[in-house]
Amino acid sequence: MTALLEVEDLHVWFDLQDGGELHAVQGVSVGVEPGERLGLVGESGCGKTTTVLALMGLLPPSASASGRVLLEGKDVLAGGEASMRPHRWTDVAIIFQGAMNALNPVQTIGSQIVEAIELHGRARRTAARVQTGELLESVGIPAARADRFPHELSGGMRQRAAIAMALSCHPKVLIADEPTTALDVMVQAQILELLDSLCRDFGLALILVTHDLPVVAQLCDHGAVMYAGEIVERGLVDTLYHAPRHPYTRLLFAATPDLGQEAEEIVSIPGAPPRLDRPLVGCPFRPRCDSAFGPCATARPLLRSVSDVQSAACHLNDLHSGAPG
């Protein structure tokens, strides 16, 4: 059986003004199945947003990509815009952090969604308006509010409108890039609940891009931790938390305060991620790692499976079968 969406060995380079190149994504492979929820986690600059922009075919002209993006077995990256275009929004849709930026400020939310439906030839006029009303209701906006402008809505309602628009062509995969970062906790909870029900009720696959580990722990089945342009560990969120096999995953959790664990030491990770405009030697995480040893300085560890449900890119896993640290 072919996977719904599969990314294989994705690389993205950005041309820099001084003539150099920034290797933002360095061989990422991920996939999702219908109804599956994958969390793509990492700090700023780790390449998580670039990864999802690449698989939407939305990279800026200064970027070049290689690898394969397979939608139900068909490579949509190879043919460039021509091969991506029929699938964007109809098969894969995306919502961004600042919903205000995704919406046209001088058009009502309803007419923007009607436009999206008509443009993709899914319905016309009255039928499109009826569909828009249903879409808005399905994300928790009363249909009567279709004639509101984005600025008349609160941040949470705008994000709901952006989700409704992303769903207008019934995509199979929804990518959510930091969908709740600018929102208050209560509104965040409402949006996460909505995403959860969309996956459950419609079998929508979700790729959630975030820096917020607890959000992934609560909403996703699988997680992929990115560092310096590559996935350093992936697996079920439960194993990532309870039995991490990469020190970065373990340290990232340890740096996150948790309600109810107030006695616990919260430790930051010293140093900063490496620059990606020059070749990396050895393990990219080695300078910040608390358990680096011999081979880490010279050999770059590859992402290898350490169990049925987990892979990690760490030399410690070659050394012994237990969890590192």
Partner: protein, 334 residues
């Protein structure tokens, strides 16, 4: 922190309103002047060496409270006492010497630092403004001490750098150093880590913890209950311009008494995927602060409200189900 010492900061029944512009037509038609009730009766105390977290959603008035405490906005009524002295009515000139004793660190170190100034100049600027340090050498040594106190050591490594040559965590430490160089007694930290990457947040928070241990009083504004629970001595939860619950951090987190606090705590995502709970999600959004609901201002969203809640405005008092004498909640049913 004995009760006998004078609190560093005492805020009593503070009220701050922002007028809503009426426009010419509104003025001519004599429409009533409306106001945003940003802060609507806040009472708060902070001891030296104590970290109090002011928690709440956007628009609840936590930043306005902090600005009023620093006298950056003028209150309509209520009083602010700093080290026992009433500073509510002080004029600009009289405030100036006080300003060096109360400093603020903002949320975004990418915005709060002047990109054209080297670290040395950024941290020295407050000294020049307040006329502290007679010689350049004296100021330079104060700057180095402040950088070291903010965890940027050795200071020589950072003095000549520009903000763009620093990481986010280092930038925030420079902003903290620029506040510390005046040797303040009160530090207001407005969302000090929310713009920083997870891996460096803990370092900045632990710096605040160290500063607190050296006697600094810190008022931290945050929307992150997990951070407040871990790093604050006391938590004050704000809703629509009022503190609705306040008490020792552990007590508020483990034994919340106000339904708003309970709901807020229930929606905080946990690190452990096995700790998935049914969050108690409040419907709708915070009403706007122009038209405050009657009675208890939380009643339209409250899951347990009864008839009396629509008419009676509860005040902060010690709830029945609490062990701590310093735990207070503003709920008729607590």
């Amino acid at each position: 922190m004995s009760a006998q010492t004078t609190p560093l900061l005492e805020v009593d029944d503070l009220v701050v309103h922002y007028p809503v512009p009426r426009g010419l037509i509104g003025l001519l038609r004599r429409r009533p002047q409306l106001a945003v009730h940003a802060v609507d009766g806040v009472t708060l105390a902070l001891q030296p060496g104590e970290l109090v977290a002011l928690v709440g959603e956007s628009g609840c008035g936590k930043t306005t409270t902090a600005q009023a405490v620093l006298r950056l906005v003028d209150p309509v009524s209520g009083s602010i006492r700093f080290q026992g002295d009433d500073i509510t009515e002080l004029g600009m000139r009289a405030l100036r010497p006080l300003r060096r004793r109360m400093q603020i660190v903002y949320q975004d170190p990418y915005e709060s630092l002047d990109p054209r100034l080297r670290v040395q100049a950024t941290v020295e600027e407050p000294l020049l403004i307040h006329g502290i340090g007679r010689s350049r050498a004296e100021r330079a040594s104060l700057v180095r001490n402040a950088l070291a106190r903010a965890g940027l050591s050795p200071p020589e490594l950072f003095l000549e750098r520009f903000p763009h040559q620093l990481s986010g965590g280092q930038r925030q430490r420079v902003a903290i150093a620029a506040a510390l160089v005046l040797d303040p007694q009160l530090l207001v930290a407005d969302e000090p880590v929310s713009m920083l990457d997870v891996s460096v947040r803990a370092g900045v928070l632990r710096l605040l913890e160290e500063l607190k241990a050296s006697g600094l009083g810190i008022l931290m504004i945050t929307h992150d209950l997990s951070t407040a629970a871990r790093f604050a001595d006391r938590i004050a939860v704000m809703y629509l311009g009022r503190i609705v619950e306040e008490g020792p951090a552990g007590e508020v987190v483990r034994n919340p008494q106000h339904p708003y606090t309970k709901a807020l705590l229930s929606v905080v995502p946990r690190r452990d995927p096995r700790m998935r709970r049914r969050p108690q999600i409040l419907r709708g959004e915070t009403p706007d602060a122009v038209r405050i609901p009657s009675g208890c201002r939380f009643h339209p969203r409250c899951p347990i409200a009864i008839d009396v809640c629509t008419t009676e405005d509860p005040s902060l008092r010690r709830p029945d189900a609490t062990q701590s004498p310093r735990h207070r909640a503003a709920c008729l049913l607590a």
